[in-house]
């Protein structure tokens, strides 16, 4: 039965491996689940799921699986368990000692197996007592009763707050994002863009220098130190926001998050559709706090690498006409500003989140590519890789 559960998890796209499955078996053998479904649920989650974004999928599969069991019974007996068995009829209150006395029947599988057998052997309605399915008894099956590891069948709320379905609440729904976050992969791609330099305090042994100096010193040790190597690449990021870029927010966020941790010197500015005389840093106050593009060019030296991120999808006049901007009156055409920026930063690329095969069909993309001398790359792992190589080329 657990094998089916395991396969269902894999079908649902959870990255569960054999190692985890065997670990779960080991844990069950060690008696960790304590023969309660609640604990089995928590234990399974601890062992099988490695990311909180997958919690919700686990919950759903768990529910589906145990719902599936119920469906299987229905198929077996051709009808539902008569609801009247389960209707609230009597209260059963037990003292602490009595509760302790109720022993486990052994394992969840055994419980399910027993339920199956019990259903087969039980023909009529049942209430009270220790064995049959029904209400208010001490049997592990049925509702309104007390058995610490019971399977609840048809009861609205949890009465002893021990019963089964925590997973139905699906509390981790918000954390699930079926589109895998690929920050790690993006970071690995960004790693192409590395230029190691030694700056700062000298705190590492320079082995070659030490040997050399010691030899010159006639064998007496002369230690030489040097600063640690680190990535000295400087990146200036221009991000297109709003309008048609809304479809690509997620992938841009990933790129941005990855770039932020990968590059120590990262400056970013936003623009809308195309670059003109001003850009901004805070999208909430984009109209109040605009920064002249010339100021950006003055502030950051030509050793910065310029990366545009945008879909370059707009009316062609927004690029080539003065006053073509959709948002304001621009004295000079966007293409002029683009040329200025490219002059200020000789190393530049444009990353486009639109798929590459669509580019030839959009005139503005074609224009932008011409302006950039074809240094436009798709915003995919492979595209970022190519772009970083282009930025690194001498």
């Amino acid at each position: 039965m657990l094998i089916r559960f395991f396969l269902m998890l894999r079908e649902a796209g959870l990255p569960v491996g054999l190692t985890e499955f065997l670990a779960l078996q080991e844990a069950l053998k060690a008696g960790l689940a304590d023969y309660s479904v609640d604990e089995f649920y928590a234990l399974g989650r601890t062992i099988l799921v490695k990311d909180e974004r997958h919690y919700d999928r686990y919950d759903r599969v768990f529910a589906a699986h145990f719902q599936g069991l119920q469906d299987a019974f229905e198929a077996l007996f051709g009808k539902e368990i008569p609801a009247e068995w389960l209707r609230r009829q009597a209260e059963l209150s037990l003292s602490e000692e009595e509760r302790k006395k109720i022993e486990s029947l052994g394992g969840f599988e055994a419980l399910m197996q027993a339920l199956k057998e019990r259903l087969e052997e039980q023909k009529g309605r049942h209430q009270g007592g220790n064995r049959m399915i029904g209400t208010a008894g001490r049997s592990p099956f049925g509702a309104h009763g007390y058995n610490p590891e019971g399977v609840r069948i048809g009861q609205e709320g949890s009465r002893h707050r021990r019963a089964v379905k925590v997973w139905d609440r699906r509390e981790f729904r918000n954390l699930d994002d079926t589109a895998e976050l690929g920050t790690r992969n993006v970071k690995l791609a960004l790693r192409r863009l590395r230029k190691f330099a030694r700056e700062g305090a000298a705190d590492q042994l320079d082995l070659d220098g030490t040997i050399d100096a010691t030899a010159r010193n006639g064998g007496m040790l002369d230690l030489k130190l040097q600063p640690e190597r680190h990535n000295a690449v400087k990146v200036l990021l221009f991000l297109d926001v709003g309008g048609s870029m809304d479809d690509h927010v997620k992938v841009c966020q990933e790129l941005f998050a990855a770039a932020r941790t990968e590059f120590k010197h990262l400056e970013y500015y936003y623009f809308h559709n195309f670059v003109y005389e001003t850009v901004w840093k805070d999208n909430r106050r984009r109209h109040a706090e605009r920064i002249p593009t010339t100021q950006v060019m003055r502030t950051y030296g030509p050793d910065y690498r310029l990366v545009f991120v945008g879909d370059a999808t707009m009316g062609p006049y927004e690029i080539i006409q003065p006053g073509g901007s959709v948002e304001h009156w621009n004295e000079e055409a966007g293409s002029v500003w683009m040329q200025r920026l490219r002059q200020a930063y000789p190393k530049n690329v444009w990353l486009n989140p639109e798929p590459e095969d669509r580019w030839p069909w959009v005139p503005s993309v074609k224009l932008t590519r011409e302006l950039l001398e074809d240094r436009m790359y798709p915003l995919t792992l492979e595209g970022i890789d190519r772009a970083m190589r282009a930025l690194n080329a001498k």
């Binding site: 491996g17 844990a27 060690a30 960790l32 989650r45 601890t46 490695k50 909180e52 040790l221 230690l223």
Partner: protein, 283 residues
Amino acid sequence: MTTRFTGTDRYVATDDLKTAVNAAVTLARPLLIKGEPGTGKTQLAQEIARSLERPLYEWHVKSTTKAQQGLYEYDAVSRLRDSQLGDARVHDIRNYIVKGRLWEAFESEVQPVLLIDEIDKADIEFPNDLLRELDRMEFYVYETRELVQARHRPIIVITSNNEKELPDAFLRRCFFHYIRFPDEETMRRIVEVHFPRLKQELLKEALESFYKIREMPGLKKKPSTSELLDWLKLLLAEDVPPEALRAADGKSAIPPLYGALLKNEQDVHLFEQLVFLNRRANR
């Protein structure tokens, strides 16, 4: 010596957290803990050590930490210098091997608890460099050609703040638990553990404004458990009466000492604006 973790007198553990910890302890697998900042991830290791009466080894990871530093470091520079000065210690290379936290934990007489704190701060390859060590609980010291094996597999607790994704091969070897932000009931228990003599009224009011602030849209950093505890400490120190937390219309008051809850100026600004708008709307 007990082997089951059930929370302690100063740490409230939910049921699923207990299950996760006990699974990791019984099967001797590393336990990876994630969760919002301030939900007690680091404290968990300390409390496990305390309740199971085990020694605790803490390895705090920084952006410059290398995996090797947790095992050992060979101090070649001081050996070189000693050789120049004719120190007798120089003949034994062991004198220059500095043990890391992992080695220390491996040598412990009883099963220890090892905390690897904020693993996501280190370089992206860091977890990959620890795969064999965590799996087999052994490593090789090249300088002395000896194999260091753990006497007892340590209970390893690893915390992460999700700043970097961890590699799959590493995740495979860990158990995982995400500490959820506590609901009001759990929060009440947590507060009671920390401030046993807190007035019920004050607690009720404080929790109410706390959750209200957390629900505010657009906050950059939502206040978490540790911030709530700090804030309550301040409220107690200043002897703020419960009425001060309650405004006439319930919404328009800025709670006193909110600086303990909101940690950056944009949030404070946003908060003040919202309160201001609310006041105007209520007038």
